[in-house]
């Protein structure tokens, strides 16, 4: 729709702020997509109407205190888990903030997500419970479901600080079709100064793309894709070996299609520079085509991508979810991807009876 498209355009090109007529709608969309803080940082220092500037300034400060709180929560988990001697890898927003990445600027951070080796789960669980975290809801079916099939423990919440922690041992449900090589991913993290870890740059993208396209119904997708844009830019500029590594890792984890789709959509919505091919390819071109045309064709959206774009932009200027059928289709798809048909039927049956 018009309004979420304008949001994406402004994130990609802050100079377009001159053309905004209806700031109220733009802010409503940005808030609904959890992108208000990111937008505020992108527009910092622009000439804006005073009321808009005041609102964005508050959003920037809010993002800053959210960052401090998220890092504090990571520190609390670090202290609880340090005696175990297992690597604790931060994921998503907290990881971006802890690693000082551009993607963390203004990003809202909800739960703390960590990744630990599967063999260490019982110890990690015990240590967290001893340090004041408790189960959000105790339900035998859910508990069983999480432990047997999912890639994470049931969510825990800290009884004093009221913050949730998701403890992952994999990046996709165990029942999902792609089978990422978790040993490799957990075995090759980047250490931070305080003893915590983050994923390697390529694995960070693989995880973000897996989260976006191979798991879940694309809720919050515009924000997740914005993360991917920021990460790709920063990693690509920093290290010429990044893109080949990304290809190699994506392939190894069985997620190259998801990563390629994420890259195409990021380029389409946020003008992300892409550099899959390091080697000059002009030699292989015939006399009709130029290099850029050829590369352009390879980054074109496919028909399926267009459906994803439709879902990603399904929000109007009042912040309302639009396109209920597209949303429903992606919701059904998210379950389809997560588990085989018979298991899905059983799962939905149990869920439906409980309502």
């Amino acid at each position: 729709m018009r309004d979420s498209r304008l949001l994406a355009r402004l994130l990609a090109d802050p100079a377009a702020a001159r053309e905004v007529q209806d700031w109220t709608s733009l802010i409503a969309v940005a808030r609904a997509e959890s992108l208000a803080g990111s937008l505020a940082w992108r527009l910092e220092g622009r000439e804006l109407p005073p009321r808009v500037e005041a609102l964005l300034e508050a959003a920037r400060r809010d993002g800053e205190s959210a960052r401090v709180q998220a890092l504090w929560e990571a520190e609390m988990a670090r202290r609880a888990l340090a005696p175990l001697g297992v690597p604790v890898i931060l994921l998503k927003g907290t990881a971006y903030a802890a690693a000082g990445l551009e993607a963390a600027r203004g990003r809202s951070i909800g739960d703390l997500d960590i990744l630990v080796p599967r063999a260490a789960l019982p110890d990690v669980e015990r240590a967290l419970l001893a340090a004041g975290w408790e189960w959000v809801k105790e339900d035998p079916y859910d508990d069983q479901y999480y432990r047997r099939w999912m890639h994470e423990l049931p969510p825990l919440i800290h009884r004093e600080r009221d913050r949730m922690i998701d403890v992952h041992h994999a990046i996709l449900p165990l029942t999902a079709r792609p089978k990422p090589d978790m040993e490799r991913m957990i075995g090759d993290p980047v250490p931070l100064a305080d003893g915590l870890f983050v994923l390697s740059p390529a694995d960070m993208i693989v995880h973000a793309a897996a989260h976006l396209f191979a798991d879940g119904d694309l809720a919050g997708g515009l924000r997740n894709l914005w993360d991917i844009d920021r990460l790709l830019r920063q990693f690509g500029e920093r290290d010429s070996g990044f893109w080949p590594a990304l290809r190699e890792r994506s392939q190894r984890h069985g997620l190259l299609p998801a990563v390629r789709r994420a890259v195409r959509l990021a380029r389409h919505l946020y003008a992300t520079p892409i550099n899959w091919c390091q080697a000059p390819i002009s030699k292989s071109l015939d006399s009709q085509g130029t290099a850029s045309e050829k590369i352009g064709a390879r980054h074109q959206l496919t028909a399926t991508d267009a459906l994803y774009r439709r879902r990603l932009l399904a929000r109007d200027g009042w912040g309302r979810a639009r396109r209920p059928l597209t949303r429903l289709a992606f919701y059904v798809r998210s379950h389809w991807l997560r588990m085989p048909p018979l298991m899905l039927a059983r799962h939905l049956w149990v869920k439906a009876r409980r309502r």
Partner: protein, 286 residues
């Protein structure tokens, strides 16, 4: 959205959209004379059917907007005005980060402000509204906005929400200033009162706070005044603030400065006459 109202209250502006005409019409009448915001609105409130058929069939109003509570119960359409008010409160409670938000009533005299806070039922709304009719300028009965930089209080003069027994105290009021009587709401019987023209005209004028009161109402209470130390006032105000935690260090700094610079008193009263006398006494000393 079919029915839209844009509303400026103090330094905050709202865009309220509704699928039904009723709530927006009632809101327009209640807030007659309020300015329309120029340009951007800080918050969007949406009143919409929870499921699409509930727009016509036993219509119920879900309170949504920029910020939502996932488990907020919808209200029947007859209470649509209350839904709009709750929608605005919700945006403030969850989304306002420009000020430290205190769940309190405030009134002003001679450029100096009095803040009254307490649990629901302590009488801060009623006292704020009564004082606002008796020589004080009414600044707000729901939220007081403490400036994070200069420590002044900003007015937020929304319609007063009169509840249950306190309705009777305002019987003689100009009927044009009163909203419809809403019965059977989650908080009992509610009627809204538009602040007087002075409160509306001066809604952008902040004031320096000079006294914090913690009123307590009870039919059997003897009138009493008790000093409240800065530490206790601090703790009670953190509980009365919806965004203290979210503001982090800035919230802490603003609140410690606030309780350090002002005297705090708790007062007990059994009727509004006693309360007014106690306020007068403390105000003269402040």
């Amino acid at each position: 959205m079919r029915h839209i109202l844009r509303l400026q209250v103090g330094p905050v502006s709202f865009r309220i959209g509704s699928q039904w005409r009723g709530p927006v019409e009632q809101l327009r009448r209640l807030y007659a004379g309020y300015p329309e915001p120029e340009g951007l609105c800080d918050f969007t409130v949406r009143l919409e059917a929870e499921r699409f058929w509930r727009r016509w069939l036993r219509p119920s109003v879900a309170i949504r907007g920029d910020y939502v509570l996932p488990d907020a119960a919808p209200l029947p359409l007859a209470q649509g005005l209350l839904a709009a008010e709750m929608g605005m409160n919700l945006q403030m409670a969850l989304g306002q980060k420009r000020f430290l938000l205190l769940h309190a009533a405030s009134v002003e005299k001679g450029g100096r402000a009095l803040l009254m806070t307490g649990h629901s039922g302590a009488g801060k709304s009623t006292l704020g509204a009564l004082l606002g009719e008796r020589g004080w300028r009414f600044m707000g009965d729901e939220f007081a906005l403490l400036d994070l930089d200069d420590g002044r209080l900003h007015p937020f003069p929304r319609a007063v929400s009169l509840k249950n027994e306190s309705l009777g105290l305002f019987d003689g009021m100009d009927p044009a200033r009163l909203g419809p009587v809403l019965t059977g709401t989650p908080k009992g019987t509610i009627r809204h009162l538009r602040p007087n023209p002075e409160a509306v005209a001066r809604m952008t004028e902040p004031a320096r706070p000079v006294l914090i009161l913690f009123p307590r109402f009870g039919r059997d209470l003897e009138p009493a005044i008790r000093e409240v130390g800065a530490a206790e006032a601090f703790m009670r105000l953190t509980q009365a603030s919806t965004n203290y935690v979210a503001l982090g260090e800035r919230g802490f700094d603003a609140l410690t400065r606030f309780v350090g610079a002002l005297p705090s008193r708790a007062i007990d009263y059994a009727d509004t006459g006693q309360a007014e006398a106690l306020v007068d006494e403390l105000w003269r000393a402040a």
